[in-house]
């Protein structure tokens, strides 16, 4: 023993001291052999390598704790010596773990003891029980240790040179052993040994993850691991990240994961989605989601549901059950998934009906008409984010209304929100002026010490005034308003607010015609009496925006005395937000623009507005001379503005300057976007509002293109024109009083008989003939602007021949006048053909439009309108056509739908859509499988069918030699043409046009 001690002393004197001290104590507890063994262990540990003495130190310290069980002590010692062969770390970790485990059981023992004595020492049974418990616990710890030993050994054997990993293992193992019960530990060990059979890295990953997420149901996880090792890892990773979010649903979630793993389904994707969704859900929502997931079939459906979760009313069980009930169980997977993802029209509709929701886009036209009727101006209704709002040009309403459970009520909410916005216009909210300022409202608010408060008060007063006036003037709307107001009042919180907030809330409640909650603090009660007295002025039929301002100022004097509460007032949802100054500026500017237009119209010489007199400082505010008493909407106010005086004023440079200022302050109107459904043949349903189409009307101008083309193809242009001129008017008109015809004009015939009888010579013109006299054609040329149209046309094909006699058969190959040069692209030729057509059509008088399309992905379909039907074929339109450039993909469906919509709007008798493309419809997300052409073709086919249902005749021209393959599928034989030689395009185009429109 002294030998070991002296050896230790040479290594590290402190350790030797400790060895001597503890050794002295231990000698009493251990037998001779045991003690010798103990000494050997100490030395082996110390001698194992670098920092070995540290392990020895720990071991010696631990020895005292384990002294009452020498076997275990020596076991631990032996085990530890195996660990330290490569590094001291695993050994240290291990010993620390053993020490902690030991401490825990000691602590438990003590607690158990104190507890049992506390309760009743006389109750021997109870004491026995406790004793048994203590024993069991001790027993359990021993078993834990055995388990750890066993698994550790396995790992040690497999990965010998990985001291870090070993250390990690022990760290985690003991942590679990200490916190959780034996079954958990054994499950974890099972998992660990499972991973140990794989690569080093996977075990390392497992150890890291499980240390990070120790609070697991390791039993289930082990089962998962047995079925599908990757799933277990994925689950571990997932649960480590959002521990807090999954805790309420842990058990069912893990069970689901197990079920999927048993089916050998990978749960990676599902967990990924859940990881994003769960943190956003409330506890009950999360529970519902997992519960409903349990009803589904397989992990793909589960993923789909998780994706949609944030849009589903998870807590409305009846609705959700009914919706899930409606899912197409027997259909193929894609249909089922689309349903769960709320992508198919059936699904969306089903859910909407169940919820009684109102989607704005379904009611948009109705509301647009309603708003126009009410206001007399073209206030555009748009889908907006958040609350209803308005800026003088556009009224934005929320896209989905789900305030109520009933559809009718939701619609009433929507209508009321709109009426409130319209009411602001009708009742002159934006007529407020303050001196020369263009931001009258803001200036007025700023004149108060607390501008925010002033604005809040004004918003309350003004909304109250508008609502009261609406109810007064529109008795029908009053009923809706009452319903919505009552509902809005229920959402208001009152209790526990600061005094200021209580005052503001009481004003809001008063404006909602709702009684205040009782009891009120005396000071609040007194103040509200005063406030309501002021607000009553707003109920007057003659109250205008000035009244609101005055009432606001009066209320301000009361409310501003209270302590400031920076928290903003919750808005009343249906009243939304009104950008007072924006709207006011926009209205003034619109009026000024109208004025300018009138001025320009009335002045033939086109006198420059800026170059006029410098007289009397103008006051644009006077433009707003709209009769305040005249309630009949904005338009009358606008008309009133246009009085001669104002015209003079505009000639003034200062006036122009102000106008410029206004224009700068005016916000850019939003881009024009449209949403279109798309047909998915896989789910056999429309994907609703799937594509977003942007309409552009200003392209980069290339003004030379059209003149160049015309001078280059003068002969061809003439020919195309001649061909088109042969088109006859196709509308029949009855012509009466002709000498020859299909039927007799009875009246004239009788007259002729009478004339003959009375001796006058009768007229011979007594017949009716049908003659073709009119044309009523609208044609839209839709050019494919995809990147592939940038390809050069092959050299030998770029030759034209003028051969007038042969135009019906295209051009022959003999050339005496090479018209085209090298270096033209397919798109160039498309453009040239359209230019030639346009020139000819101008002569014919048919109305036509030229558009191009491209885009990238379903969220960005670009549609370029170079020339609209009612636009003149002028410099701008020509420049637009010239400016068409190859862009990106060919998503045909939405472009065709948009084009048909434009055509349908023309209300012409014959509507022709001519599509010129160079390949099959494709886009990177046109169908889930990028390489599959089917989705795009099926959607395009559908779009063409829709077009023909709207009375649009379509024709596809393509230069893709393989065009027959898919065009045959997309349209009937007589509605497409594949051009072998692209240079025939201009000629073919005119033929196609003739065919379509006569």
């Amino acid at each position: 023993m002294t030998d070991i001690e002296s050896r230790l002393r040479r290594l590290k004197p402190e350790v030797a001291d400790q060895f001597a001290r503890i050794g002295a104590v231990l000698r009493a507890d251990l037998s001779e052999t045991e003690f010798a063994q103990w000494g050997d262990v100490c030395w082996t540990l110390a001698d194992a390598g670098w920092h070995g003495w540290e392990v020895t130190n720990d071991f010696i310290a631990l020895s005292l704790d384990l002294a009452n069980d020498p076997t275990q002590l020596l076991q631990v010692g032996d085990y530890c010596t195996a660990l330290v062969s490569t590094s001291f770390e695993p050994g240290k970790t291990y010993l620390r773990g053993v020490a902690e485990l030991n401490q825990r059981s000691d602590y438990k023992n003590q607690r158990a003891k104190t507890k049992s004595t506390k309760i009743n020492s006389a109750e021997i049974n109870g004491a026995d029980k406790k004793g048994a418990e203590t024993k069991a616990s001790q027993n359990r710890d021993e078993q834990s240790l055995l388990l750890i030993h066993e698994t550790g050994r396995e790992i040690l054997n497999r990965f010998q040179q990985s001291s870090n990993m070993h250390a990690n293992f022990f760290k985690t193992a003991f942590a679990i052993a200490i916190d959780q019960d034996l079954d958990m530990l054994s499950a974890w060990c099972r998992l660990a040994s499972l991973n140990a059979r794989l690569e080093r890295s996977s075990l390392l990953e497992f150890l890291d993850l499980s240390f990070a997420a120790q609070q697991q149901n390791w039993i289930i996880l082990a089962d998962i691991g047995v079925c599908h090792r990757d799933n277990a890892m994925a689950y571990l990773k997932f649960s480590g990240k959002i521990r807090y979010a999954i805790s309420p649903v842990e058990q069912p979630l893990a069970e689901l994961a197990l079920t999927y793993s048993k089916g050998q389904q990978s749960i990676d994707e599902w967990l990924l989605v859940l990881g994003k969704v769960l943190p956003l859900l409330t506890e009950s929502q999360a529970r519902a989601l997992i519960e409903y997931t349990g009803l589904l079939n397989g992990v793909f459906e589960a993923t789909a549901l998780a994706e949609t979760a944030s849009r589903l009313p998870l807590t409305q069980h009846e609705v959700l059950n009914a919706w899930l009930e409606g899912r197409p169980v027997n259909e193929n997977e894609k249909i089922r998934l689309a349903y769960l993802k709320l992508e198919s029209a059936v699904s969306e509709q089903c859910l909407q009906e169940l919820l009684g929701q109102v989607q704005l886009h379904e009611e948009q036209r109705l509301l647009q008409l309603y708003a126009e009727a009410m206001s007399g101006t073209r206030l555009k209704i748009e889908v907006g984010e958040g609350l209803p709002s308005s800026d003088g040009q556009v009224i934005r309403l929320p896209s989905l209304i789900d305030q109520f459970k009933d559809r009718t009520e939701n619609f009433r909410w929507l209508k009321t929100a709109l009426i409130h916005q319209l009411g602001c216009y009708e009742f002159g909210t934006f007529d407020y002026r303050r001196g020369d300022s263009f931001i009258a409202f803001e200036d007025q608010f700023r004149s108060f010490e607390q501008p925010m408060l002033a604005e809040t008060l004004f918003t309350i007063c003004e909304s109250a005034r508008v609502d009261w006036l609406v109810a007064r003037r529109y008795r029908g709307a009053a009923a809706d308003l009452l319903l919505i107001k009552t509902a809005a009042a229920q959402d208001r919180a009152f209790e526990g607010l600061s005094q200021r907030r209580q005052l503001l809330e009481s004003m809001v409640l008063y404006s909602l015609d709702t009684r205040l909650p009782k009891p009120l603090a005396e000071s609040v009660r007194v103040a509200t009496v005063e406030l309501f007295k002021y607000m009553d002025q707003l109920k007057d039929a003659g109250a205008d925006v000035q009244t609101s301002m005055a009432v606001m100022a009066a209320c301000y004097s009361i409310v501003s005395g209270t302590e400031i509460d920076v928290k903003p007032l919750e808005p009343v949802l249906y009243r939304g937000l009104i950008a007072f100054d924006d709207a006011s500026i926009n209205l003034q500017l619109t009026a000024l623009e109208d004025l300018e237009a009138d001025f320009a119209d009335s002045d033939d010489d086109g006198v420059q507005m800026t170059g006029a007199s410098d007289e009397a400082n103008p006051n644009i505010d006077e433009l707003q001379a709209g009769d305040v008493d005249n309630p009949s909407a904005v338009i009358s106010a606008d008309e009133d503005m246009i009085v001669p005086d104002d015209l003079d004023r505009l000639e003034d440079p200062a006036g122009m300057q102000k106008m410029e200022r206004l224009k700068q302050e005016r916000k850019e109107p939003a881009e024009i976007t449209y949403r279109y459904d798309e047909w998915d043949y896989v789910i056999e349903d429309y994907r609703r509002r799937w594509c977003t189409l942007y309409e552009f009307r200003n392209l980069e101008q290339d003004v030379d293109f059209v003149p160049d083309t015309l001078s280059e193809h003068r002969a061809l242009a003439t020919k195309v024109r001649r061909q088109l001129n042969m088109l006859r008017p196709e509308l029949l008109r009855k012509v009466k009083g002709v000498a020859d015809g299909e039927e007799l004009d009875l009246e004239r015939a009788i007259e002729a008989v009478v004339d003959r009888k009375s001796g006058v010579s009768p007229s011979e013109n007594i017949y009716i003939q049908r003659q073709r006299k009119e044309r009523d054609v609208a044609a839209l040329f839709l050019l494919d602007m995809s990147a592939s149209t940038d390809d050069l046309i092959e050299a030998e094909a770029t030759v034209y021949v003028e051969n007038d006699d042969d135009y019906l058969h295209g051009f022959s190959a003999v050339s005496d006048e090479p018209v085209k040069e090298r270096g033209k692209t397919i798109l160039d030729l498309e453009k040239e053909s359209v230019v030639l057509m346009a020139e000819a059509l101008e002569g014919l008088g048919d109305s036509y439009a030229v558009c191009g399309f491209s885009g990238y992905g379903r969220d960005r379909v670009e549609f370029y309108v170079c020339k609209d039907f009612d636009e003149p074929y002028n410099y701008h339109a020509k420049g637009n056509i010239g400016g068409i450039k190859p862009c990106r993909s060919t998503r045909m469906g939405p472009a065709i739908r948009h084009a048909s919509k434009m055509l349908a709007a023309t209300e012409s008798r014959i509507k022709a859509l001519i599509i010129i493309s160079d390949g099959y419809p494709q886009d990177f997300d046109y169908g889930q499988d990028r390489n599959s052409k089917d989705y795009g073709i099926k959607d395009t086919t559908r779009a063409l069918t829709e077009a023909s249902q709207q009375g649009v005749q379509s024709f596809c021209l393509t230069v893709d030699p393989s065009g027959h393959d898919y065009l045959r599928e997309m349209c009937p034989d007589q509605q497409y043409m594949v051009m072998q030689d692209i240079t025939q395009l201009p000629d073919e185009l005119s033929k196609v046009y003739r065919g379509l429109t006569s």
């Binding site: 009727a373 209508k415 003037r473």
Partner: protein, 284 residues
């Protein structure tokens, strides 16, 4: 041919109700003094016909009217023009009676002879030959050639030609030719403002003041929509019809539905929008 004697004033001496909106009555009276032909312009159902009836009453049956005029049997000859209305229809024709031919005067020649007001409603609808026919009547000559009989009628001193025309919905092809147009003094008509219209509605239909005001309000709102599927706004006449239905106990919303929503347009969306307007204005 649509020729009607709209006013049997001798047997029915009721004064036609007309609410002057501006100076149209004075202008018409002055024009009549000088025997200047009058052109009335304005949308459907805004009261053009009623105005002519009213003026005919004032001039031929009014307290200050001359005895000669009082004796005229039919002071107003109204002809609703249509696309087949020929010169013969206006002037007259030979009819067969047994084996004989008998001359039958048309409304215009009757009016020219009697010295009454001849009102050609929607003149642009008529055939070209009939519009040219009135040229000689509307200048200093004041004559009507009757081709079939080979005679020329000199207009009676009290004769006046009034035509109406609706610039709103006629297409460009059917515009009035300048040669015709420039023979008339033109009085513009439009729908009255809300309050005046409410007065008319209340008088004509007998509805209460509130309902009349609400109907007028509805009218003004619906007229804001006139570019959507219908070229003309709702006429005062239709508003009066709605009022009449309401007086007889039809619920306001239903009355407006049948008299206005369905009547002015076939576009389902516009109908629905008007329906919503009605529901906003009238209580359920």
């Amino acid at each position: 041919m649509t020729v009607s004697n709209t006013e049997q004033l001798s047997t029915e001496p009721k004064i036609p109700y007309y609410l002057p909106l501006a100076d149209e009555v004075e202008i018409f009276l002055t024009a009549y003094e000088q025997r200047l032909p009058v052109l009335l312009k304005g949308p459907t159902g805004c009261g053009k016909t009623r105005f002519v009836e009213y003026m005919a009453y004032r001039l031929f049956r009014g307290e200050n009217s001359e005895e000669v005029r009082r004796s005229v049997q039919e002071p107003l000859q109204t002809v609703a023009c249509h696309e087949d209305l020929s010169a013969t229809d206006l002037v007259g024709r030979f009819l067969l009676q047994g084996d004989e031919t008998v001359w039958q005067d048309g409304p215009l020649s009757r009016s020219v002879k009697d010295g009454s007001i001849c009102y050609l409603d929607e003149i642009v609808e008529a055939r070209k030959d009939s519009t040219v026919l009135i040229h000689s009547l509307t200048d200093h000559r004041r004559i009507l050639p009757v081709e079939k009989q080979g005679i020329t009628l000199d207009a009676h001193a009290n004769f006046l030609l009034v035509i109406s025309y609706n610039p709103g919905y006629q297409n460009v092809l059917k515009d009035l030719k300048p040669s015709t147009r420039q023979r008339f003094i033109a009085i513009d008509f439009d729908y009255p403002d809300e309050e005046q219209e409410a007065g008319v509605i209340a008088h004509e239909s007998g509805v209460g003041e509130t309902e009349a005001m609400e109907l007028a309000r509805l009218g003004a709102r619906v007229r804001n929509l006139k570019h959507h599927g219908f070229d003309e706004g709702v006429s005062t006449r239709l508003l009066v019809y709605a009022g009449q239905m309401m007086v007889k106990g039809v619920a306001p919303i239903r009355a407006c539905e049948v008299a206005i929503c369905k009547a002015v347009t076939d576009d389902a969306d516009v109908q629905q929008a008007i329906g919503e307007l009605v529901r906003s204005i009238f209580p359920a």
